[in-house]
């Protein structure tokens, strides 16, 4: 079972795109709102080396942005 963290902000459309994609594929994830949690925001920047949302942490694989293809690859969903 992979653990997935999605670092996002509530207003970010690309974040919604990623979360909708995971929900459609019935993949569970932890939704971390970095707008509400400053520590989580720092953790995200440290992990990704970037200041941009969304960031996905899929068992240590970091994906920045709504890169659905990279997400599919990381989750072996094909495509």
């Amino acid at each position: 079972m992979v653990t997935i963290k999605v670092y996002s902000t509530p207003t970010c459309p690309y974040c919604r795109m990623v979360k909708d994609f995971l929900k459609q594929n019935k993949i569970e994830f932890e939704d971390i709102d970095v707008a509400a949690d400053v520590e989580a925001a720092k953790e995200m920047v440290a992990k990704s080396g970037q200041m941009a949302v969304p960031v996905l942490d899929i068992d240590g694989t970091i994906i920045v942005g709504a890169d659905l293809r990279a997400i599919k690859r990381a989750l072996n969903l094909g495509g």
Binding site: T9, T11, C12, P13, Y14, C15, M17, A41, V45, M51
Partner: protein, 304 residues
């Protein structure tokens, strides 16, 4: 062969789909994402029927409305080429090829870049083009917003709630934006506005640390952690640049019926030369383009 292919699903493309569906056209929608730039606006207060709605919510409403109708949508598919051969429009994507009698180009626009040193290097490392997405990451920091129109004012208003100090850097002597927004920005004691000021360089090591500016021949450096670039848009017309006429700004030239210079090819929304890049304008143009395509198809069937 389809009657119609619509490329893009922002306000223009989505509205075109609704009109095309109600005309029972056999059509296909190809879009990188659904919602387009509309979803990136923070607050929308000028879309008739909504006194206030966020861009994201409005985009969701558009999508819901679109999905009321049965239609074929290729979401996430990227168009790589468009041509017209012997009256048939051929659209090639990264995953397939499709043919149609008519085409609506509704590919919208993307953020214009400053083209200064440091901009590319520090993209997503302090430099951002999406205030709606990334503003919360700059809590209690000093940031700069570059631009002089509504997008820059919108970004500044979002940052007032979040950042410590906001330098609003305008290359012009005044703002061209809505007076309501200008007033709100001027009222805030968090905002320092610099007019007639050019951005020369974005500085940093791992992340952005500052910007170098020039005003009246004098250079100075401001320490900031974030740089929000909001200097307007460039039409996403690269795909059709060799197919239809573009103006000097790279926008697809259309007439009042959304017709391009190529019969059967229409354009709508921010990609076109229609003035005022507004969600409501784009939506209206999408409706016109679909009706215009319908009329064109009717003439193909029953030539006068």
């Amino acid at each position: 062969m389809y009657d119609l292919i619509i490329i893009g699903a922002g306000p223009a493309g989505i509205t075109a789909t609704i009109y095309a569906a109600r005309k029972k056209l056999n059509f296909l929608v190809i879009a990188k994402n659904i919602g387009g730039q509309a979803a990136l606006s923070a607050d929308v207060e000028n879309y008739t029927g909504y006194q206030y709605i966020t861009g994201l919510e409005l985009a969701k409403k558009f999508e819901e409305h679109m999905k009321e109708f049965k239609m074929e949508v290729k979401e996430g598919e990227e168009v790589v080429g468009v041509e017209k051969i012997d009256g048939t429009i051929k659209v090639k994507t990264d995953r397939g090829a499709y043919e149609s009698k008519t085409l609506i180009i509704a590919t919208g626009a993307r953020s214009r870049t400053l083209d200064v040193p440091g901009e590319k290097e520090f993209k997503n490392r302090g430099v951002t083009y999406c205030a709606t997405c990334d503003a919360p990451l700059f809590a209690n920091m000093d940031v700069a917003v570059i631009g002089g129109g509504n997008s820059a004012l919108d970004a500044t208003l979002q940052l007032i709630k979040i950042a410590n100090k906001i330098y609003l850097i305008n290359i012009n002597p005044s703002f061209r934006g809505d007076d309501v927004m200008i007033e709100k920005v001027e009222k805030s004691d968090k905002v320092v506005t610099l007019y007639n000021t050019k951005t020369l360089e974005i500085l940093g090591d791992k992340m952005v640390t500052g910007i170098r500016l020039e005003k009246e021949g004098q250079q100075k450096i401001l320490d900031v952690r974030g740089v929000f670039i909001e200097i307007g848009y460039v039409a996403n017309s690269d795909l059709v640049a060799n197919l239809v006429e573009l103006n000097r700004r790279g926008e697809v030239v259309v007439d009042e019926h959304c017709k391009t210079n190529v019969p059967g090819i229409f354009a709508a929304g921010d990609v076109s030369n229609v003035p005022y890049k507004q969600i409501i304008v784009a939506a209206g143009e999408g409706a016109k383009a679909a009706l215009s395509a319908y009329e064109y198809l009717s003439r193909l069937r029953w030539p006068a």
